[in-house]
Symmetry: D2
Subunit: 262 residues, 4 copies
């Protein structure tokens, strides 16, 4: 894998959209006429301008649009999925996982909490409680110095949203940035970061196909901040490896040849 | 899944041993004549006595000894593997994973850092640097109030050991309890806890087939402490699930029926 | 300082009550006729019975009831204060601080977030947003395997309470156990643990002099769980010290004699 | 307090040097002829060039050089002290503490682990074990994606150093970046971050008056990285405050008027 990152270069972002609701449900098409992925893309561009180079791919593209070539050239992958998690091929999930461990940033949005790739990275069921009844969601910042929280009002309000509530079965996050409350009284850890391998992951729960959440200014700003944060600062793209080191040689590891009688 | 836990009852522990080195290598057989799993079992019994009910199973048992019935009756599973991680069936790994999320405790020892089950729970490569050249390992406590650190000298010394060194590609732990240094100058996060689902996981790196580590008093005490800590306090064994909740009904979730047009 | 702890012995608990509102405000006296500290004491006894030995002291006692002798014999100190934080003498705060670092457990309840001792242990302003307008508080568990969460319904509801909201200026906790939401839509990290020195600290926000919160079953259970958790497992009570160690002598530290030309 | 930060502007750094050893000990003067603070300053400038504006102040300056005006214009304060912690006035410590909570970054170097300001921010004794016998220190990275670890070899070696060893009595860090081992076999958490209020704190242990550590390239790079990381991204400098909020008014807090009969 070759890396693409240079701090001065635009961040190469790929927004992956499931793009199924948009094809089947008129309600969703009305809110996102060019697809949710396109709206998410526009929100990132709106905030980061020339600092970013955003493309979109969808589930129905060959290899879901996530070939080795595409991933090798991607700094940050943004993932939205909901109805068709099971249709994502295990081979592509393995490939994305490898690139995250090698340093590709990953933003996991809303119902992608139940995507194969997020489950594989978390190791848990990633289940939660939910209800789609137009609750008002209020998003509060609990880590005000975090880069992802910059420029975000405390709190900000999403007028109507699907409720996501605890217990959310994920590992305790490295950083808890946002908490959301809902009209019904539920609470959710709605903005969290994780590091896995050399990759940085940001989970952000607002966003649903039935509400115009990705048109909302604050949500777009959070996602853009997340993209900037998730881009690796390491110069090369490579997965961590298991290596043998001789005594007093700290820098030249040897490949692993098998465990028995080594 | 039915649970077995009652705080007053003995902790039901299963020690899973790969048991391959012992069959093939005389050196290992000399150190662990009845198998490493047996020595680990005896160390737990030595410390916890009537408070524990320990059995052993190995890779070569049918279903690796880890049937649904066995796991349902296990409070804490202790895992040692090294040469034959690949021989563990994916089906059994899925089963163990489900039981961990449902509340079964898991101790991951030494080279089991590269086992399928640990990788699945961590979401990372779990790689590290290593060298088996009789380094002295010194184990230091950095979380002195942790239950697992009680009764453990600070530091304690393992006269000869395989070196495991950083970078160890695992998620930042929930709790960092022990750090190890080696003669060569390497360092390793050697005692760490994680929670996944309703299960508690303790990784402890000392222990190798080529050294009598599991005969050492301090190591046995740490493992016994880990067993006590990892036993769930929850009364029932069940995996977290995704459920819909009506407004103002906080306790009666409804099963999930599919994402589209829900 | 001599320690008192033996796992088999009852936990020696001291509930420290400010006891000012009860003297001045009839409303508070109606809810807590024998003082809030007494109600808190009774809640602990109700849950832990013979496993605990609870006494109470108040601000108006000599040395606020917290002499060296009392603290040396205390496993866990429970602190409730509100109107008179400034009246607590700095000398007593220093003494309590020293005992926490030496291993005494500390429960910090509700408005004690702004007590001198909590501020000294946290290093932050411990400020928050608040409103006392009979909001309904719903307490959610986000760390379901934590000992303090055992036996606590998810969620549980406090019918009327003072609102405490984020941003709560405290360090990121070691463990986040409970989150609370309020009728007005605010959120608060309401149950958190910290370790400082050899001491364990549990902050729990429900509880106010104007509401019968400490009469509520679930709140009493949480506090009792907190008491059990906060009791140190270390056999001796001593503060961490700075010591010089000779090479290869890991166990015999020498006292510090001054930094210059040492 | 007015803020000074604009992401485009040079980072305003003040290096605070105790500057006592340099006056009294020829050995230290030989290593740091213009004072340790000057060497630290030069290391930051060497790495950040025009991106930084560094000045130095010392203990013997009026108000230790840390007037309200100086602090209000400082983005990041770097602190080195050892022999004269007790000579730092409590008033100045309070002032620095307030500015950290308001958003000023703070780097705490080596023996400043025992400074008043670090103790006040941590809430613990900040004690450790030590020995100054020319141990070789090896610094390992355990958080390879952290901004502070960028460009730092894994590991890097300090040929001769004072040993600092665990147990280091500080709170569990928000982020553990570096671990150090020493010839004698000791280990130390040598690079850690903390957030307090709106301020970001980086503790880095290498550096002693008796060794030319601050002349070493890797150490200088770490400190420069720390300076960049610790600069706040928030536009204003203000301390967190306790405020009352009316129902449904999330943005206009009211000042606090006293706890009794509020």
């Amino acid at each position: 894998m070759s890396g693409t990152t240079s701090p001065a270069a635009p961040i190469k972002v790929v927004v992956w959209g499931e793009n199924r609701h948009e094809q089947v449900e008129q309600k969703v098409r009305d809110i996102y006429p060019t697809g949710m992925h396109t709206t998410i893309k526009e929100g990132i561009e709106e905030n980061l301008g020339a600092g970013v180079d955003v493309t979109t791919v969808t589930l129905d593209d060959p290899e879901h649009g996530l070939t080795e070539e595409v991933l090798a050239a991607t700094d940050v992958l943004v993932w939205w999925g909901h109805a068709a998690h099971a249709d994502v091929s295990d081979e592509v999930v393995e490939r994305v996982h490898r690139h995250v461990l090698a340093g590709m940033g990953l933003l996991v949005l809303h119902s992608a909490h139940w995507s194969k790739i997020f489950g594989k990275l978390m190791g848990t069921s990633c289940t939660l409680r939910w209800r789609s009844e137009e609750d008002r969601e209020i998003v509060w910042t609990v880590d005000p110095t975090h880069p992802i929280a910059q420029g975000i009002p405390h709190p900000f309000i999403i007028p109507a949203q699907e409720m996501y509530g605890e217990f959310f079965d994920v590992p305790a996050p490295d950083e808890l940035i946002f908490l959301s409350t809902f009209t019904g009284g539920e609470v959710f850890r709605s903005g969290m970061t994780y590091k896995r391998g050399f990759g940085k992951i940001f989970f952000f729960s607002p966003g649903d196909q039935d509400y115009p959440v990705y048109h909302q200014k604050e949500v777009r700003k959070v996602i853009a901040n997340g993209v900037e944060w998730a881009r690796t600062l390491r110069p090369e793209r490579s997965v961590p490896v298991l290596l043998r080191y001789d005594t007093e040689d700290f820098y030249n590891g040897h490949g692993y040849q098998g465990a028995m009688e080594n």
